[in-house]
């Protein structure tokens, strides 16, 4: 039982990160109706940005307390990723805005490969250890459960970012424009919404969240390499579909479900004779099942296709 709760906890921490990445997919899909395949690679670049910022800034910030310097690194990485997202949209996706969705998807795959291999060229293919932004301490909590301060910080920070996102989407003018655009782009334009600005903003916001996700992920699993974004990116996409793509609370819920399922499979599948390596396949099995039985996702609305 203890072990089970421990696994659930670990799944929760992993799921929070998936949720954070899934939000980027969902927001872009909601506004532009296309899957930004390169999102997972922005996540990877977030982790690398954190790594290099730590290297560059630590001599200057050693006097500051660890949480402050960690927040500075986190915010700067988010900024870098946000700008990167806007640039990607500007260069690769904007010229294709009126083309068939499939063309945009292929471009997105191209962008994804481009980021991966350029990163491999610049950073090298070897895995490197991610620095501890905040010195790690593991505490034994209630009933023999182990929780590290990193895990708690990541969870709390993720929740704060989710709340901030909710605030932006629900309470600001830009958020209103985003929601309008996702409901009906033409009508939104007629009401004076500047599509291009809103789309840029959405990309920036989603990419910034992916960057934060990259740093959190690297803090929990401290080893980074140029291809680390592929699997978490795909799983987060599955999370977005599971929750109902285009739906922000759905993405959070889907992320949690994927994280917890994956951790449970990794922990228990050997008891029933399945190798734990199958955990990487679980998300895709879930994806296929959800698309077969409830294609709109758990919290999604059914959309009628007009002919």
């Amino acid at each position: 039982m203890e072990q089970f709760i421990q696994q659930l906890l670990n799944g929760l921490f992993l799921g929070a990160i998936y949720a954070l990445i899934a939000l980027g997919y969902t927001m872009v899909y909601g506004v532009l109706r296309f899957i930004n395949f390169a999102h997972g690679d922005v996540f990877m670049l977030g982790a690398f940005a954190g790594y290099y910022l730590h290297k560059a800034l630590m001599p200057m910030m050693s006097a500051l307390p660890a949480p402050v310097s960690a927040v500075v690194i986190l915010l700067l990485s988010m900024l870098i990723c946000g700008v990167l997202g806007i640039v990607i949209e500007l260069l690769a996706y904007r010229p294709l805005r009126s083309r068939p969705r499939l063309n945009v998807l292929i471009t997105a795959i191209g962008v994804s490969l481009f980021l991966e291999y350029t990163a491999q060229y610049i950073f090298g293919a070897t895995q490197r250890p991610f620095p501890e932004l905040i010195p790690k301490k593991t505490v034994e909590g209630l009933g023999g459960l182990y929780v590290s301060n990193t895990q708690v910080i990541v969870l709390v920070a993720t929740l704060l970012l989710l709340l901030a996102l909710r605030f932006i989407v629900m309470k600001t003018k830009m958020g209103l424009a985003m929601r309008a655009l996702s409901l009906n782009p033409t009508a939104a334009t007629l009401m004076g919404v500047n599509n291009s600005v809103v789309i840029s903003f959405t990309f920036g916001l989603g990419s910034a969240l992916a960057g934060a996700g990259g740093i959190f992920y690297a803090s929990l699993y401290p080893s980074i390499e140029p291809f680390m974004g592929i699997l978490p990116g795909l799983k987060a996409f599955v999370a977005a579909v599971l929750g109902g793509i285009g739906n922000i609370p759905g993405a959070a819920l889907g992320g949690m479900i994927i994280g917890i399922t994956e951790t449970l499979v990794a922990g228990y599948s050997q008891d029933i004779g399945i190798p734990s390596g199958y955990k990487d396949g679980v998300a895709f099995v879930i994806l296929i099942l959800i698309l077969l039985f409830k294609p709109s996702g758990l919290l999604g609305k059914v959309e009628r296709e007009k002919v």
């Binding site: 899957i35 083309r99 292929i106 471009t107 191209g110 795909l234 579909v241 990487d280 294609p295």
Partner: protein, 323 residues
């Protein structure tokens, strides 16, 4: 007159004869160039078969490497486990081993076709990017399953299989390439095959005209998968070692790039693109680090500047002018 009626069949026959004749002189071809030629042939099969699904039928599949993997593992396991006794039973020699190879290839192809059916049927509810993601998911599942098999089992786990008989030669590669070009080409150009194009051009209109679009999609998937399975078998018996990691997402992307560069729905374009990219791959080997950067840029720039491919379908273009 004869050529007009049986033109494509005569071309196929000519291709088969040429590949047989060339294969008699393969000793005189440098091993290095031979290897490139065989790779190009295998890539032609992969690209032409994917083109049936992605180009002609307009279903975007991102999991072609999965079918290749099943074909490769299927045929390799058969020749590794039962190759020697079977060859002996068929009388040994060139004929016996050739027969074993054909059977192994077919078994691999049939398993791949079965998988294609399994993927095709549930995916029919999906369109466009969703289908792409699901086929990608299937690809990952296949990779994960093969990687996590028992290391002492028939599939060799993460290390894969080695010591596969090097049966693949010039004749088999190019004969099968010619057959795949012929089958895909004549299917699409037949009365039956117009259905593929209907699915691509306007699924809803096709359905309202009473065309069973579901059947066309499954057929495209199954035939595409079958030829990818054959290509996988050829690949396994050319490389003599295979592992599941080689049949991942990136391998699928390689084939997709060929189809896009050649022009979706253009058989000739795709064949040329497969050859060009294989050769380019060899020449870029010294620049291994840049290779994929170049390929990804090709993909992006093609989509922005020329989404119809370098050699687009001629018929399509003509239609555009009149409307």
């Amino acid at each position: 007159m004869i050529f007009k009626k049986y033109g494509t069949q005569l071309l196929l026959l000519a291709a088969l004869i040429v590949s047989l004749v060339v294969s008699l002189f393969t000793d005189q071809i440098d091993d290095y160039y031979m290897d490139i030629a065989l790779n190009a042939g295998i890539n032609i099969i992969l690209a032409v078969s994917l083109n049936l699904v992605n180009g002609h039928t307009g279903q975007f599949s991102l999991g072609h490497a999965a079918f290749m993997a099943v074909g490769a593992y299927g045929s390799a396991v058969l020749t590794l486990q039962a190759g020697a006794p079977m060859a002996a039973a068929f009388g040994g020699g060139v004929f016996g081993h050739g027969l074993v190879f054909v059977i192994a290839l077919l078994v691999g192809g049939i398993f791949a076709a079965l998988l294609g059916w399994m993927v095709g049927v549930p995916s029919l509810r999906l369109r466009g990017d969703y289908l792409a993601i699901v086929t990608l998911g299937f690809n990952e599942i296949i990779r994960v399953v093969f990687t996590n098999t028992n290391a002492d089992g028939p599939f060799g786990g993460a290390l894969g299989l080695k010591g596969i008989e090097p049966y693949t030669n010039f004749f088999w590669v190019f004969a099968i390439a010619a057959v795949s070009v012929y089958v895909v080409g004549s299917m699409v150009n037949s009365t039956y095959g117009r259905g593929f194009l209907v699915v691509r051009d306007d699924e809803v209109a096709g359905e309202s005209m009473g065309i069973n679009t579901v059947r066309y999609k499954v057929t495209a998937f199954v035939i595409g998968a079958f030829f990818a399975g054959l290509a996988g078998g050829l690949y396994a018996h050319l490389r003599t070692t295979i592992s599941a990691e080689g049949f991942g997402f990136l391998k699928s992307v390689d084939v997709v790039v060929m189809v896009i560069l050649g022009g979706m729905g253009s058989t000739l374009g795709v064949v040329i693109a497969a050859v060009v990219l294989t050769v380019l791959n060899e020449y870029l080997r010294d620049f291994e680090q840049y290779r994929m950067i170049v390929f990804s840029l090709i993909l992006i720039i093609m989509m922005i500047v020329r989404p119809q491919g370098l050699l687009p379908n001629v018929v399509l273009q003509r239609k555009k002018k009149t409307t």
